[in-house]
Symmetry: C2
Subunit: 208 residues, 2 copies
């Protein structure tokens, strides 16, 4: 059983698979899953349809490969949650970073995961994207639960909602400043939630 491309027989592939994934990611991000046709993809890649299917099986499988590629290149919430620092600050910086990311590119506005399959006709592409978004929320929830199990659910829910909102409005052309301001203001809720409902025994461990 041989793997990789080393020493396998047959006609060599005429295009770079990884470059194709990157180009596909850009197109899906710009126009959404249904907004990119197979003709769009093959034309942009300079290949014919059968070459595409030989390499990726289907449009949906191609998209899901892109999703995985994207997920492993996105900074997780861990990087924002620092022991001893307030939770509200971590949430604020996380959402601000998202607001910047969502609006910094000229064409690929918003979140690829949240936008590409919004109102998507393909159920498999939709559920794959929803699963990634949910995994991200659960990851944030579990991290928050270490210091504030009572607030981990409501905070991660609120953040999920704001991410959808920021993404949608970024796609409508809102400026980075405007989105960042909304992100900052929404984090005020987290500060209030933390202060209003103090934990029973403050003998916990990590963040405030």
């Amino acid at each position: 059983m041989r793997d990789k491309e080393s020493g396998r027989s047959g006609r060599p592939r005429s295009f770079d698979v990884d470059a194709a994934l990157e180009l596909g990611q850009r197109l899906f991000h710009e126009r959404g899953y249904d907004g990119v046709s197979l003709a769009d993809l093959t034309h942009a890649l300079g290949i014919a349809a059968p070459s595409f299917y030989a390499a990726f099986d289907s449009k949906a499988a191609f998209f899901q490969k892109i999703l995985g590629r994207h997920a492993s290149a996105t900074p997780p919430f861990d990087e924002f949650l620092i022991e001893g620092h307030p939770i509200a600050t971590a949430i604020e910086q996380f959402l601000v970073a998202r607001a910047v990311t969502y609006s910094e590119q000229a064409l690929a506005k918003g979140c690829l995961v949240l936008e590409a399959t919004h109102n998507c006709s393909d159920p498999s592409a939709l559920s794959a994207a929803e699963q990634i978004a949910e995994d991200g929320r659960l990851h944030m929830r579990d991290l928050l639960a270490k210091s504030r199990p009572d607030l981990s659910e409501p905070i991660s829910d609120l953040v999920a909602s704001m991410m959808h909102g920021l993404s949608a409005l970024a796609r409508q052309g809102w400026s980075t400043d405007r989105l960042v301001a909304a992100a900052r203001n929404s984090a005020l809720s987290v500060r209030a939630m933390v202060e209003n409902a103090k934990p029973g025994a403050p003998g916990g461990s990590a963040a405030t």
Copy 2:
């Protein structure tokens, strides 16, 4: 120049235009603009395509008629903003009402205006919906500006973002309770904004 259907000549229409708009609204709400084909519409209405086009000109025009119909049946922000009552309370109750509306129907989840044209292929339908959403935000902003011109923009922006978030998550099946909790928590931001940035001269008029 005759109007309405009173006393105009010609073969009478075989279906009720208003019932068609209502049925179309339900379908567009459930499946989005691109998710409802003309065949879907004409089959559901029990008519043939030319009858549809004779009455509504095009799919996009039909949809825009539905949008107008929907907008004039949606409670505006005025009903929530009461003189002498805190702004944060008005925002909270407004968002809670939206959270309930977005999740109460079994199939037509989320906001028709925000969801039906999300990633929509038809630019005219998209811009019509975006205009209605923006008009709503501007209306809220102008009402808020009467008492707090310094906060009218950031608050209405935050609310716009939360509406998108609540709508998207309602569409994913989140329960009413969960959405209402997120709405309530997001309103804590508004309370904080109002308290943190007191107006210079409190000699204003309406809400706090």
